[in-house]
């Protein structure tokens, strides 16, 4: 039997099964998993950016060995984000395959016709072949849709516990990363203060002297002159502290953006797991998938990654 004839017979046999499946499943087209796949790609960047921004803060605090340790340790969350992304792509692939069922049959039929003519098997008239292929394509399209829905449900249901667990574990990794960020920033502050301790100490001395002079009443000419002198010296010393103030401001912006990125990444992980759950429900009972939360977290994360990279 030629592959084409086999295909036509398979199509006929399957026709009834498809009708039965359609009746049972409402023949709903599986929901779009493309958004889940897109969000996973974004999540991958966000998890990587969260790790590297904290490692950068450790470097800035003079903790390069700990920064290296974090970069090494963060390879696992990075790797898990890659696995999530590939899994989402594969899930989206099931749905695509279901939608492309008709094309698949046509390509298969073309290869069958080529083989039949290559080995010298006589085929029916061209019009009859085309009609057969069209029927097979239509029927197979329905089979593919039903099969993709069933495969998708199986894949999603089997992975849902792992999805919930990985969201939880990544959330904890991000909590730890955030704590490292706070502590690293504090270390940087202490080291910077040490570097400018002469100036800050002198300022403190000047302030104390001024307070003491204020307490002396009535104000003598000598004390007034000294107060003016203190003012002048204070301005000079303050100007020498400008690099420290500039670094403090830059560091505060950096930390704020890093905290926002970590929070947005944490939210994106939760939304991703939620979207996976929604997708499963949609395949099971035909409910609608609301991509709003997932899309919003993708937008937030994209914007924050841009900010963090621009620093």
């Amino acid at each position: 039997m030629t592959p084409l004839a086999h295909l036509a017979r398979h199509a006929q046999r399957s026709c009834f099964a498809v009708l039965a499946l359609c009746a049972a499943a409402g023949c709903a087209t599986p929901p779009d998993a493309g958004r889940l796949a897109d969000a996973s790609a974004q999540l991958r960047s966000a998890i990587a950016a969260s790790g590297s921004t904290v490692a950068f803060e450790l470097d800035a605090a003079g903790e390069s060995e700990r920064a290296r340790q974090l970069r090494d340790a963060w390879a696992a969350p990075d790797r898990s984000a890659v696995a999530l992304s590939q899994y989402s792509d594969a899930v989206a692939g099931i749905i695509r395959s279901g939608r492309e069922g008709g094309d698949t049959v046509r390509r298969l039929a073309d290869a069958g016709v080529q083989l039949a003519s290559g080995v010298g098997i006589a085929l029916p008239a061209a019009g009859a072949v085309a009609a057969g292929v069209d029927l097979a394509a239509y029927v197979y399209q329905q089979i593919a849709l039903a099969r993709s829905a069933a495969s998708l449900e199986q894949s999603l249901a089997r992975m849902q516990p792992a999805v919930d667990r990985i969201a939880d574990v990544i959330g904890h990794q991000l909590d730890d990363a955030q704590a490292i960020l706070f502590n690293a920033n504090k270390v940087a502050e202490v080291r910077m203060r040490d570097q400018f301790s002469d100036e800050t100490g002198y300022l403190l001395a000047l302030r104390k002297e001024r307070q003491a002079l204020y307490r002396v009443t009535p104000l003598t000419t000598a004390n007034a002159e000294r107060l003016l002198q203190i003012d002048k010296v204070e301005r000079t010393v303050t100007s020498r502290l400008e690099p420290m103030d500039a670094e403090r401001k830059a560091s505060s912006i950096r930390v704020r953006n890093a905290l926002l990125l970590i929070a947005a990444t944490r939210q994106a992980v939760i939304d991703w797991a939620g979207a996976h759950r929604q997708l499963l429900a949609a395949v099971r009972d035909g409910s609608a998938v609301d991509p709003h939360a997932l899309l919003q977290s993708v937008v937030d994360v994209r914007e924050l990654i841009r900010k963090v990279r621009a620093q």
Binding site: L84, S97, L115, S148, D176, A179, N183, R193, S197
Partner: protein, 166 residues
């Protein structure tokens, strides 16, 4: 009124630092990261407020700074350790997702009739190669014949491999 207001002279500052270091040692033994962070902030405040800024006080400041950094580094190390510990589970979960992805790809391939299509493609290539071999046997040179036989063998092997896999 703050805890620094009534401290005057090296002895008082030194005594204050000693009490802070005792509290820091307690914080270091605890599992609570927040209390270590809070303790490091008190040590930083010591450095900010200690007076005058002479050599002896600076030596105290140096001790306080180092103790503050030590507490913060302990927090960082523990968080790093906790990330590394959790990575074992993360690696297992990643593998689970790899398997899930592979299963999903297999499902998608089966829906696309991929194996049937590949079989037909390989068979088509085999037929074409055999047809080339037949025409070379009729007209070609020895070198062309050898090349055609090689191609035919490769095509036959591909068919065999594919059949073995199915």
């Amino acid at each position: 009124m703050s805890e620094w207001d009534d401290i005057e002279g090296f002895e008082s500052w030194s005594r204050k630092l000693r009490s802070l270091l005792d509290a820091a040692a307690d914080a270091a033994k605890q599992t609570n990261h927040d209390s270590r962070f809070a303790m490091s902030e008190r040590l930083i405040e010591f450095v900010e407020n200690s007076f005058p800024n002479d050599e002896k006080i600076r030596a105290l400041d140096d001790i306080a700074s180092k103790a503050a950094i030590g507490l913060l580094e302990q927090n960082i190390d523990e968080r790093l350790k906790s990330i590394v510990t959790r990575n074992t589970e993360l690696a297992q979960l990643s593998k689970q997702f790899d398997i899930g992805a592979e299963d999903a790809r297999t499902s998608a391939a089966s829906i696309r009739f991929e194996r049937a299509r590949k079989t037909l493609e390989v068979l088509n290539t085999g037929v074409e190669t055999m047809q080339d071999l037949r025409s070379t046997l009729k007209t070609g040179t020895d070198r062309q014949l050898i090349a055609s036989i090689d191609k035919a063998v490769t095509a036959a092997r591909k068919v065999r491999d594919l059949l073995q896999k199915s």
